[in-house]
Symmetry: C2
Subunit: 445 residues, 2 copies
């Protein structure tokens, strides 16, 4: 009889629908997921699970979809404090007359910590449980993410000019190594190298990045092929397009997270597929900055691992992965001139398991599978805006708003409960953001 | 002293920010709007307004933006019941194997009334106060809109084949005339002619539409220049592109509401500007169905009145004008290859006054001006997702979600109060939508 005795677990989540992402496009009805020590230990029909598991806590959401947490595969989260500070401007005016002067006046540990905290609250309320971060002061970011139990791959920036974070190349690499060593083996935080872009990083620095990436098996998080200008400048300065230069420098491999990629030839798409390069599609940023159109469908069909990111709030202007997924799915169709391009299930995969794979986290997160971390999200499908419910995955991608996210767990720890943030002082965060607004308004005069 | 005595009004709305849309791009701080008999009778600084007006009711929203209600300038609202019924399919498979068979089995007065009611609830919760409707059974739609005090221009469909609504051309026109006569002079409902599309309406029927439109000063609501196929079919069948054919038939004038318009030459843009044609941009539908890219910025810069619509829920899949505005604004930049294209204020204008102008309602709605109807919306900017608040209009277009709409009035009548629908049974509407889902699931087998 002992095999029929219920086993103890910490949490049993029962949902009207479960979308595990793996197997692809599957929707399970009336299913429960058991969590113990932060890990998914059981998935099965609700009635069976109640018998099989003795749960310390049961969360029942009959109108909800339970799905893996979303992975925002490209962000600059401290810049959440610059949301809407400048819009509708040509790139260089935007950067030189608005973003850089403001950033220069405010950047520092406090700005990075406060911006990251605001972003964490926004991400949790929108069903995002993991971010691929790319900004200065990665040490402060890592600390802030860890403090709030939020999963992140934190990029140690490398750039050819001095900033508040480091004065020269040696300091960028020394600090990168220090942050890497500090967070090695942490359950939620990993560190990547984040050379800024082909037009701001020299061959010598790219070679150091390549060597360090190979030595420690680090991801390389890079903005590239973002605009036509970047391509023509690369040809002018290096004789080749950026991807060819990166290949020459030893960076085109399965550790490369290539962000934006709006300018790609068929050969370059083939090169990415062949070498296992991960592509992060940021459709809303690409549209808003008039950067171009990423051939997301062509990349996916060529076998390239596709992930989705919001980019920073100075250029998006939110961290809404539901909106980003929807934009990715519908834009792909117009770009491919094919209404079947990037269907709903493939889009949802890109935003979860695709992101996890890009970040090197696919063994841990990205799908609801036994043995994976319980990074889970409940989405209320009972809302009027998602009625009637003919197709769960279609509804998640094409009709659901992030405000329908009701509950969020990271590694089995509750982060959002019935829309209320757990252990985060939302009023304090909002008050703090208002103080930054006033300070920035003073700077701008 | 009598000039200083406060005057009576029904409603005084005080808001932290007021965006009247006209004057363009203006943001008023700490302002109040007075409403009497459904009409805006006062706009001024909050403190003054408390002295000048004796209001039966004061609504105070210090963290909100007060703005004109959004005008959804192209919808098929009964199809809200088909939300997500089929996606990610080529146009003809989608239509012939999914939409038409389901529609054929369910269409009728009850389907139209129930779908319209579900849509009204969704629109109100998202800050939309006026719809440009295009579907069968316009009589039922008009009745349902009027019953809920929702403003609409209802299109009497004309199409060359028999449907559940009418068996032949004579019946389409007879019914159009009957609906027109019935609703003439109604405060909220107007009637337009809605010839379906150039590929489904004969020259003879277009000529009857043109004559009836001229006789009664009716808007003509038409899908056109939606796809490349439509253009090539028109050249094959009529020797000219659709706009040239429409011009020949007397339809290119200030009564034409041309929807989609993804295929336009510079000459055609000039033609629209010269003749006062209104263009409704439906960016999300155009992307999702891979129809093409409307040159929204070029149209606006040429002086064409631009409006924004969601299209129906079978092809979008929502009635979210905040999302549609954002998509319109960011997509325009990539299409124009110019980050200054369709800036936030111009987008907001298109979604309010632009829509009102297209529908022939600009004397009544579309902006917060003395003498206009009080179709008003409060949007909560205190939400974490719109912090910090550097720029009100940018935030409304680029960062605000429809769930931040707190209050809605149509002609001064409260429709949504602190997110709660007034006089609408939301649970009953959801239960009804679920019944339709079950019925449609049975039909599909």
């Amino acid at each position: 009889m002992s095999e029929h005795l219920p086993q103890p677990c910490d949490l049993l989540i029962e949902a009207g629908h479960v979308v595990p992402v793996q197997p692809h496009a599957l929707v399970l009805q009336d299913t429960a997921v058991a969590v113990r020590d932060g890990v998914i230990v059981g998935i099965g029909p609700r009635q069976d699970m109640r018998v099989r598991w003795q749960a310390a806590r049961v969360v029942s959401r009959p109108d909800a979809v339970l799905m893996p947490g979303l992975v925002n595969a490209h962000t600059h989260n401290p810049m959440t404090l610059l949301r809407g500070v400048a819009d509708d401007l040509p790139l260089m005016t935007w950067l030189q007359e608005h973003i850089w002067p403001v950033e220069g006046a405010v950047i520092g540990e406090q700005f990075v910590a406060d911006g990251t905290r605001l972003a964490i609250a926004e991400m949790l309320r929108g069903g995002t449980t993991c971010a691929n971060e790319n900004y200065f002061f990665p040490d402060v970011q890592a600390r802030t993410y860890a403090e709030h139990g939020f999963r992140a791959l934190v990029g140690a920036v490398v750039i050819d000019f001095p900033t508040a974070w480091a004065k020269d190349s040696d300091e960028y690499f020394a600090k990168a190594e220090s942050v890497r060593a500090q967070w090695q083996g942490h359950g939620l935080i990993d560190v990547a190298l984040a050379p800024h872009a082909p037009y701001t990083v020299s061959d010598a620095n790219f070679e150091r990045v390549a060597a360090m990436s190979a030595q420690h098996n680090l991801r390389v998080h890079l903005h590239t092929h973002e605009t036509a200008q970047e391509i023509s400048d690369s040809i002018r300065d290096h004789g080749v397009r950026p991807l060819a230069r990166l290949q020459r420098l030893g960076l085109v491999n399965e550790r490369l997270i290539a962000v934006h990629m709006t300018q790609l030839t068929d050969d370059e798409i083939g090169l990415c597929a062949e070498h296992g390069v991960h592509v992060v599609h940021c459709p809303e940023s690409n549209l808003k900055l008039a950067s171009g159109f990423c051939p997301a469908c062509a990349l996916a069909r060529a076998g390239v691992n596709l992930a989705i990111g919001t980019d920073g709030c100075a250029s998006n202007n939110d961290l809404d992965m539901f909106s980003e997924n929807r934009t990715a799915a519908i834009l792909a169709k117009a770009v491919a001139n094919d209404a079947t391009a990037l269907d709903a299930a493939s889009t949802l995969r890109a935003a979860t398991l695709g992101g996890a794979t890009a970040l090197g986290f696919a063994d841990r997160i990205g799908s609801i599978e036994l043995g994976k971390q319980a990074d889970l999200v409940c989405v209320d499908m009972g809302a009027l805006e998602t009625q009637p419910l003919h197709n769960v995955i279609s509804q998640l991608v094409y009709a659901t708003g992030r405000q329908q996210v009701s509950d969020v767990w990271i590694a089995g720890v509750s982060k959002l409960e019935n829309r209320v943030l757990v252990d985060m002082d939302i009023d304090g965060i909002i008050a703090n953001a208002r103080q930054w607004r006033d300070r920035i308004a003073t700077i701008r005069g």
